[in-house]
Amino acid sequence: MRLAILYAVFYLLVFGVYAVNRIEPMIFGLSFVYFYSLLVWAFGIALVVATAVWR
């Protein structure tokens, strides 16, 4: 159940790009939305690892 909730959060964050779809402020030289997507990606990878550990 907790995995299902976390995956729902992941996809919400993926589609959340439209809410933060801008260039400024640039972070580490990256556009804001690109930086945001990298964070979502890191969360997604952590989630896949968590799935393997928990199941």
């Binding site: 589609f15 790009v17 580490f28 939305v33 990878i45 989630l47 799935t51």
Partner: protein, 503 residues
């Protein structure tokens, strides 16, 4: 030696190694259909992980991701990281269950499972035909990629058509000699080669033009075309790409049968983790090259004319050649040969599995049903002939330069997506909601709708409303589910499958 001779020689050496692996695989081959196609179900973690990862990533990842980054920017990354994570998790969920059922019942093809679960030979036939037809799009994609790689790597001395044919025949040869065992083994080599290659290419090419690294590149992109730094794809395109590339692609037979080949569910579970990391991180260096190409296409650079992408489109029918072009012209010849061989590895690691899978499903699900007393030796020979036939069909269509790899790949994956309702019922049999009739008509309706709505098929047939194939596939899935439920009617629980999955 001239540059093109060095790069071509390295690609030739790479091809020789692949054929050598095919010969070795042939020596350990146990002369049974099960060993020829699913390695007697004994593949361990490294083989399964690299076979799935390198098969998933193809000319699509090495070539077209750069091309799409160059035209639409980071939109590709946002969608791609979501669909590869989806693919990894979905691969684990359905792969483990498909493995358990396949092992318990001795299945080799996707149609084996669906036909048995729904007790329908018509469904077996439809599954084999639909998969074999949609696979052609994927074979075409690899043929295009291989043609681009060797044509550019040979400095234009070998034509696109001949380059494609030569490398297609290399892949067909080692699969014919060593079966899918050769494909699995070469996948391991290719998976490492293409990953190292893509990162080297990404870092070297980026630093060559933007020595201060990513901030300098991003700043240049911002000044040239700021839209490349934000999401420009619509939500429905994002959703459709996740569905088609994340779910549909995993349901195509070349990946499906890799789950049959695994030795246990632990292997599948941890290969999914490796796959998620491998597949998503692969798209980071290609973003560097794609965005760099977008800038250089406007500004030009020493040895590179502004507008070079347009001339590549004229030569190859799409912008897919950007990556190979930049590798050939902006890295030293030895490295260019290594990197282009890595690009060839990306295409061949998928092509070999597709050729093997196609010959498998046509042989087992159609030929063997027509000629029931065929010996295993005869089936393997027929499989090899079919493998070669599909390779030639793919090559012929690639010669016509049908367009961007990204779009053509979506056609094949959209076809794979149409099997989602049927497989979901089979791997979650505890609740009955779909019967054989519903599955059959659902797949049929979904496939027809997808084909008609896909720009590359429906558009050519004169259908008035067409979409990108990814969106067409998602609409097709919706129609598929609707038809499956309405036409199917009452379904009953398959106790045998419930027990297999429980045990």
């Amino acid at each position: 030696m001239e540059t093109w001779e060095i790069t071509t020689a390295i690609v030739v050496v790479y091809c020789a190694v692949c054929i050598g692996i095919g010969v070795v695989a042939n020596r350990v081959f146990r002369r049974s259909l099960e060993d020829f196609f699913v390695l007697s179900r004994r593949a361990g973690l490294i083989v399964v992980f690299l076979a799935i990862a390198s098969t998933y990533h193809s000319a699509f990842a090495f070539l077209t991701s750069v091309a799409v980054y160059a035209s639409t920017g980071i939109s590709f990354w946002i969608a791609a990281m979501a669909w590869v994570i989806t693919a990894s998790v979905w691969g684990y969920v359905y792969g483990s269950r498909v493995f358990l059922i396949g092992k318990a019942k001795g299945f080799v093809t996707p149609a084996d499972l669906l036909a048995d679960f729904y007790k329908s030979e018509a469904l077996r036939f439809l599954t084999a035909v639909v998969m074999a037809l949609f696979i052609i799009a994927y074979i075409v994609v690899q043929a295009i990629g291989l043609g681009i790689i060797l044509a550019i790597g040979s400095g234009g001395h070998i034509s696109y058509q001949l380059s494609s044919l030569i490398l297609m025949l290399v892949a067909a040869t080692y699969v014919m000699i060593g079966g899918l065992r050769a494909a699995y083994w070469t996948d391991v080599l290719q998976g490492v080669w293409m990953y190292v290659g893509v990162w080297l290419a990404g870092v070297i090419i980026t630093l060559k033009f933007f020595p201060h690294g990513i901030p300098e590149l991003m700043s240049a992109v911002k000044s040239v075309n700021p839209k490349l730094l934000v999401m420009t794809w619509s939500p429905e395109m994002l959703l459709s790409c996740i569905m088609v590339y994340g779910v549909g692609l995993m349901l195509l037979p070349h990946l499906w049968i890799k789950y049959y080949a695994a030795k246990d569910t632990w292997t599948i579970k941890w290969s999914s983790v490796g796959t998620a990391i491998y597949l998503s991180s692969y798209y980071i260096p290609t973003a560097f090259v794609g965005l760099a190409a977008a800038v250089l296409n406007v500004t030009g650079a020493p040895g590179l004319k502004a507008g070079f992408i347009s001339s590549l489109i004229k030569s190859f029918g799409s912008r897919d050649a950007v990556m190979a072009y930049m590798i050939y012209h902006f890295t030293n010849p030895l490295l260019a040969g290594f990197l282009l061989a890595g690009a060839a590895a990306a295409a061949m690691s998928t092509l070999d599995s597709f050729l093997g899978a196609t010959s498998l499903i046509l042989t087992r699900d159609i030929y063997q049903r027509i000629k029931r007393n065929a010996s295993e030796r005869e089936l393997i020979i027929v499989g090899r002939i079919l493998l070669l036939t599909w390779a030639f069909i793919g090559w012929y269509l690639a010669v016509l330069k049908p367009g961007l790899i990204f779009d053509i790949t979506a056609i094949a994956c959209a076809g794979g997506l149409q099997f989602l309702p049927a497989i979901l019922q089979a791997i979650y049999p505890e609740r009955a909601w779909l019967n054989g009739r519903g599955a059959l008509y659902g797949i049929l309706a979904g496939t027809i709708v997808t084909s008609l709505l896909a720009k590359q098929i429906g558009g050519k047939l004169g259908f008035p409303i067409v979409f990108h194939p990814a969106i067409a596939g998602t609409i097709g899935l919706a129609v598929n589910v609707l038809v499956a439920i309405v036409v199917g009617g009452k379904a009953s629980i398959n106790e045998e499958y419930v027990n297999i999955l429980k045990s």
